[in-house]
Symmetry: C2
Subunit: 470 residues, 2 copies
C-alpha cells in the first residue's frame, strides 16, 4: 500500500503492478467519492503529476480518470482539469435506510474517531491470500457443498484450541457455531431465547447503540443494566422474566471498565437455574498492560454463551464471528442459523482455520495490539499535555477509550464543534445511559479507526486541539 | 485433484506438494468418515501401497494416518492394519438437529442422486484463487470495514450487468442486495413481508421441502399453489390476504416445468396493486436445448423480487446469493439484512465481481452447462434402454429431472429399495403435493450431485438397475 493525498485527504493505493494498479486506483477514487471523503467539486491533480507522485505510467492514471469520467464519478472540464462530479457525490442510494447507528458506518468527517472499526490498513492481505491458497488446495470437494450449520470442523477445531489457549474459554468444537459476526451472533441468540418463551433480556447501558435494537426486533424486551467503574451493576440484575444478560466483561463498551471478580461471581450466580449470560468478548485479545483477563465463560461454560469476532483482529468486512454455547443451546441456535442462511461461507472459514493453524493469526493479533497500545499511550500523553481538563478512563485495552469531560460540559455541543473542526467522535449519551450510571459528561474516542500512521497522527492532533478548548 | 478409491469409494486428493498434500489427505479422509462414505470398520490400504498409488512419499501417508488415529477418526489394530474407527463414524454431533430436509445435506448412500447440489468438483479453484488475488490487490482499505448492507458496489455492478445480459433482468445496482444464498434471500423477504403486515404467501407445491418452513418461521402462513405440466397454476392464485407468491418460472422445482407465457402474464396481473412475485431463478443459466427463457422479472420489475444464487453455478459453500428488488422494497430488505448480519462478507463478493468481470464466470457456467447437458442426455438415453417403463419429464434444463413411474407404483417402496441398492433419490411426495396436481407417482433425480465423471457413471448405472426393476 502506498499512501498519498488529494486535497489533503489521505488515500491509499495498492502497489500491485499491471492492470491491478489501475483497477486499484479506480476503486480507491470511487470509494472516496462515494463515501464523501472527496466532496463534489474537488479538483484532482493532473494525471501527469499524480503519475509521477505514485511512480506509475501516466497512461495508467489517465485511463483510470477516463473510466471514472465515463462512469460519472469524475468530470473533465475543458481547460480546467478533472473534478469530482456533482451528481454521484450528492445522491444517497435511493430508498436505503440511514445507518442504524454511527458505530456501524463510514465516516464523513476528515478525522473519524468514532469507535467500532479497527485500522483496516492492518489487514494482512498477503497472509490471508496465502491462507486461502492453502485452504483451497487442501479442502475436499465436499467442503464446497452444503454442510453443518455450525460451520466447518477445521475452523471450529482451530478456534476451540485458540480460544482455550488465549481466552481461557472451555471450548468443545461441537459446541461452537461460526456466524456472520457479532451482529448475527446476537440475533441468533435472541431469536433462540424468544422461541423458547423468554420475554426480556438485560443489556448494559451504555452499550453499542444498535444492540438493544437487535434484541427488540426479535420480540424481546430490553431491560437496561446500569454500568459503573467496576463494570455492569450485576447487583441490579433481576426481574423474574429476564432470561439473559448481555455483558462485555473484559472491557465494557464503551466505558472501558473491567467487570470485577465479585461481580463475575454474582453474574454466574444469577444465571443459575437456566438463565443465560452472553459474554461479548469483542476485543478480548487487546489488553496492553498485562495478559488479558480470561473469559467469564471459563467460570461457567454451562451458563455462558461466549461471542467472539474477527472484526477487530482482522477486519469487519470478513463478517466472521463465533459462538461457544452451553450444550443445551447448540441444537436450537444451529437450527436458527440453518433457517437464517444455512451456514457461514466455507472458503473464508477454511482460510481462517489455516491462518490460525499456521500461527499467522497470533502474529496479526500481536502486531495490531502493538499498534493500538502505542496509539492509546500516545493519546493519553497528548491529552495530558494539550487537554489537561479531560480524563481518559477505563482499562488500557481495546480500540476505544472514554474521555471524561469537566462537570457541566455540554457533550452535544462539544461533539458538534468537533465535527466543525473535522473531528468525528461520539458523545457518551449516544450509547444510552440508565439510572445515572454515568453522571459526568464524556466522549468516546475510537483510536483504531484512522487508517495508517499518517491519518492517525493528523486525527490525534485535531482531537487535542478540540479537547484543549474544553 | 487426483481421484482414487478406498474400498470402492471414490475419493479426491488435492495434488499440491509439501505440507498441503498431507493436510489435504487428512481432510479428505476425515470428511469421508464424517459423512459416512467410509463406514466404521472399513479397512484402509497399507500406507506403503497407498503412497505408491498416489505418487506420494510413504511418510506423508503414514503421518496423515498417525494424525487421524490420534484424533480418533482411524484405529490402528496391531498386525491387522488401519481401520475407520467406530466411535466417530457412529456418533452424530451432539445436540444438533437433523437436517431439515434431505435436499440440504450430505449423502450417506454410495450413489447420492438427491437433487440440490451441483457437482462441486467443477468448482474452479484456480480461477477463484486468482480472482481473490486480484480482488485483494485492488480493494481500497475501506472495503474491509463496515459497509452498505446491500453489499459491495463492485459486485452489485457486475451482477446487474450480468443478469441483464444473460437473464434479461432489469437490474439497477442500487436495487440489488447481496445475501447469504437462496435461504437468506427467502428469509429476508419473508421477514420484510411479515413486518409490513402480510399474512400469507403462496408457495408452489411441490417445492423445496424446507421452503414452506423458511416462510412460516417468520410468522407467515403458506398457501400451497398446485403445479402442473405448464408450471404453477397461476389461475388458483388468490386469497385477499395472500401478499406474495414464490415461483420457479424457468424450471419448476422439482417437476422441471416451464411457466407458460399466458401464466406469466396472469401472475404479473395478479401482482398488480402491491402484491409481490418472488422469482427463484435457482438454475436459470442451465437450459440445454435453447437459449434460456428470460426472467419473469424483466416483464414487471416493480412487481417481482428476483432471487439468484452462485450455489448451482459455483458452489453452495460460497453462500452467495442476490436479490433484485422493486424500488419500494430495497430499503426495508436492506434493513432486515443489516439487523440480521450487517452485510455479506466482502472478500468473496469482490472475488465474484472479479470473476464476472474477467469472463471467468461465463466460462464456468458454459463448462458446467455442458457437463450437466451431457449427463441429462445420457440419463434419458440410458433410461430408455434399461428402464423402459419410466419417463423423464420437464424441460431439458437444470440439475435435476423428475421421472414418472407407471401408475400404481409405490414411490416410497421404490425409494427404500433404491437405498438398499446404494442409490439415494427422492420420492415426489417428499416435495409436498397440493390438490392432486401430480397424480402419477414419480421420483426426482439430481444428476449433478455425484462428484466427477467416475462417480456419475457408477451412479447412473446403479440408477438404471433400480428403475429397470419397475
Amino acid at each position: 500500500m502506498k499512501s498519498w493525498a488529494i486535497a489533503g485527504i489521505d488515500l491509499l493505493l495498492p502497489v500491485d503492478r499491471g492492470p491491478g494498479v489501475r483497477r486499484g486506483l479506480e476503486a480507491t477514487l470511487r470509494d472516496a467519492v462515494r463515501g464523501g471523503r472527496l466532496p463534489a467539486g474537488t479538483r484532482l491533480p493532473a494525471s501527469r503529476s499524480l503519475a509521477a507522485d505514485l511512480g506509475l505510467a501516466r497512461n495508467t492514471v489517465a485511463d483510470a480518470f477516463t473510466q471514472l469520467v465515463a462512469e460519472g464519478w469524475l468530470e473533465a472540464r475543458v481547460g480546467a482539469g478533472t473534478f469530482v462530479a456533482q451528481a454521484r457525490a450528492a445522491s444517497a442510494p435511493s430508498g436505503v435506510p440511514e445507518l442504524p447507528s454511527r458505530v456501524i458506518g463510514a465516516g464523513e468527517a476528515r478525522h473519524d474517531l468514532r469507535p467500532g472499526s479497527p485500522d483496516v490498513s492492518l489487514f494482512p492481505r498477503a497472509a490471508w491470500l496465502a491462507a486461502t491458497r492453502r485452504a483451497l488446495a487442501a479442502a475436499p470437494h465436499s467442503a464446497l457443498g452444503y454442510g453443518d450449520p455450525r460451520g466447518r470442523p477445521e475452523l471450529r477445531g482451530a478456534l476451540a484450541a485458540y480460544l482455550a489457549r488465549v481466552r481461557g474459554v472451555v471450548a468443545d468444537p461441537e459446541h461452537l457455531i461460526v456466524c456472520g459476526g457479532h451482529v448475527q451472533a446476537v440475533t441468533l441468540l435472541s431469536r433462540t431465547l424468544r422461541a423458547s418463551g423468554a420475554a426480556a433480556v438485560a443489556v448494559e447501558s451504555p452499550a453499542l447503540p444498535y444492540l438493544p435494537t437487535l434484541v427488540t426486533r426479535t420480540g424481546l424486551r430490553v431491560e437496561p443494566l446500569p454500568v459503573d467503574d467496576d463494570g455492569a451493576r450485576t447487583d441490579l440484575l433481576g426481574g423474574p422474566d429476564v432470561a439473559a444478560a448481555l455483558l462485555t466483561p473484559a472491557h465494557q463498551f464503551p466505558t472501558g471498565a473491567l467487570l470485577t471478580p465479585a461481580r463475575r461471581a454474582a453474574a454466574v450466580d444469577w444465571a443459575a437455574g437456566g438463565r443465560l449470560l452472553v459474554e461479548d468478548d469483542y476485543d478480548g485479545e487487546f489488553r496492553f498492560d498485562r495478559r488479558p483477563v480470561g473469559a467469564l465463560q471459563g467460570l461457567a461454560a454451562d451458563r455462558v454463551a461466549y461471542v467472539g469476532t474477527a472484526s477487530k483482529s482482522l477486519a469487519p468486512g470478513l463478517r466472521l464471528g463465533w459462538l461457544v454455547l452451553p450444550a443445551r443451546l447448540v441444537g436450537p441456535v444451529a437450527e436458527e442459523k440453518r433457517y437464517d442462511d444455512a451456514q457461514a461461507p466455507v472458503i473464508e472459514q477454511l482460510a481462517l482455520a489455516e491462518l490460525i493453524g499456521s500461527g499467522g493469526y497470533d502474529r496479526q493479533v500481536r502486531r495490531a495490539r502493538l499498534v493500538y497500545a502505542r496509539r492509546r499511550a500516545a493519546l493519553v500523553v497528548a491529552l495530558r499535555d494539550r487537554a489537561p481538563h479531560v480524563t481518559p478512563v477505563g482499562k488500557p485495552a481495546g480500540l476505544q477509550v472514554m474521555v471524561r469531560l469537566p462537570d457541566g460540559t455540554d457533550e452535544a455541543a462539544l461533539v458538534e464543534e468537533a465535527l466543525r473542526q473535522g473531528v468525528a467522535l461520539d458523545a457518551l449519551a449516544a450509547y444510552g445511559s440508565a439510572g445515572g450510571a454515568a453522571p459526568s459528561p464524556a466522549v468516546v474516542v475510537g483510536y483504531a479507526t484512522p487508517s495508517g500512521p499518517r491519518a492517525w497522527q493528523a486525527a490525534l492532533d485535531a482531537l487535542c486541539t478540540v479537547l484543549g478548548q474544553v
